[in-house]
Amino acid sequence: MQTWMISPVELDGLIQQWQKSYAVYVPALSKPATAATDCAPGWRRINAGEPWTLPVGPTPASVKSFYFPQPEILMTFHLEENHPDKGVMREPLKSHEMQVVLGVRPCDAASVLLNQLPFTEDPLFMAKCQRTALVGFTCTTRLSTCFCTEMGGSPHHCAGLDLALSPLQNGFLLEVLSEKGETLVAGCKLVPASESDLAVLADRRQGQGATSSYSSQLEVLKACALSRLYDAPMWQELGEACINCGACTFICPTCFCFDMQDEVVQGQGRRIRYWDSCMFPLYSQHTSGHNPRGKKLQRTRNRFLHKLKYFPDRFGPFSCVGCGRCIGDCPVNIDIREVLNDLVRRTELE
């Protein structure tokens, strides 16, 4: 597909053009004055001409909630006495409004592709994929918590995006990566990127190949027998420090556990699915009171093994994109990079 050179002014014009027909969202850096919009906390919808800034590194909130909102209404029903439809489940009408998410980082774009693996059969998730266009910016700064390259990504990758913008000296290289991306730039007069600009981009991507020794170690981890990782002594200390809050799972772009529940308010009901966290004791508790993962250690272990073992077992890749959000926000400084290193060391011990 085509790559163009676009100046910041032209980009602003392009965004204003999208705002005529689509809902355009950008990262919200401060607290919104009112309640979270459209169930995508951490993002805000902007109108024509409204200024916005892109934070360095990953956006504060991941793009997960655009695909997997908290909550999602699965169906609605009435419970009023004498209602003709009492107790009948009805599906909500699906929205087809196109939405453009602006300012997505490569790690988050990769997370959407990862979540599509389990959700490929989920009509709600896939419908949102259909109507959401991701416009991303490749990273020029790597934060101290970033580790996308370790997880097989790269600050310059653009997989999962519809449009990718890479900052150059005097503008951006605009890569059109999908049909949705084509639609977004259709009818715009843009200057094709020059050979030398393309070379700069190619050069950046060249330099960011997978760090070979570490990624081969991670491959070993994928192949390692579960029992070996499961019985590692490291979980003791992690489980003891963990306070079992859901911060890591909720800010994680790839965590996708959910719970389903009925809510009834004054006779009107709806069945929703909402984010759940494997860190919560009730997550796995049976009705009888028996809890297969009743200890903190077991829950902490389950979260990490799900990302680093169970998910790869089922789908291939790790369920982690290396955005580093959980590292920065964990109340007790549990660092997934340290967990990875400990697990890798565990595979080496024979």
Partner: protein, 365 residues
Amino acid sequence: MNMATINDQITDEIRKEARRLLKTGEVAALIGYAAGSLPMTVKPLVVRCLEDCERLVWNTFCVLNLATYLPEVLSSVETPYDPRDPRPEEPQAKVAILATGCWSRNIVIQIQEKRVDRERVVVIGVGSRGMVSRAKVKALFPEKDILTVDEGDHELVVHGADFTETINRWAVVRDNCQTCAHPDPVLVDIRIGEPVSERKNPHPFQQVELLEQRSSEERWAWFTAEFSTCIRCYACRNVCPLCYCPTCFVDDARPQWLGKSLDAVDTGLFHVLRAFHCAGRCTDCGACESVCPMGINMRMLTKKLNKDVRDLYGIEAGMEPEAPLPLTTFPLASVEFIVADLAPLPAAARIVQPSSEGDESCKHG
């Protein structure tokens, strides 16, 4: 390199004490902190062997309340017994825990509420000089990646890839520490470092009062905006040493008091009720606010309750292990009083008045 800072010396003393306590078998475990993987972070660490003593650290970023871990660590060192059998009678192993002013007051509450057996706890008291808020430091360097932060006694040196800056430590100390009147532990078995004297604090509830002066609508606007970003991760609840119900009211299914998804009403009610449950017990340790990934100032609610509890019932939580709990135990004489005119109780003598010779110097870092 600079002279050893106060906290370096405290770290050394803590390690020494930890080694001694574990070596002599006086305690089976010690709850402290290890260095974190990021600048301005620490990891809670339960030390059970001599080698781990060297991992203990003490610095100005120890924002988590260690009392949260105490009941669990205590039960982890008990001799295992079948729940159907009576509790073993022999004396159980002890646990040592680092405690500043507010943490020690939480331990007092745990003792009052029979969560913790006083006999089994060895409180290693450390006077707090105020803990630094990571969020405040980060806010000083927007769009910058902080790589390391060196700590002096009165200043912090912040290093990034392309900058080095020195900032005043007190300026970035957490709000709750800045208004704290009791930085020194109220319960001490082993003292580390110098005692820190009580602080004179003319306006301990200034933030609350400012909000109280605004109109009802303005306060509602503040409330809705402040809590609109909550993601219901419950970090504030789980990190709190006061929250220990086996099943929290938010998780109750029969009856279900609250919805579980992101809904402004449900989220707001959760925070109101969570704060309410801390009434008369909260020591304003600030852990809830410090751990919130969304930077919500839920401490405002508990602070308001602390103010009311002090003004109405004349009590500050956790100041005396022998004192009864303010909202469940009280002299029946006060019953007549309430019935009589529904007026607030006069401030009782139990309020610990800040000493007039309070050390002002520590306020400036």
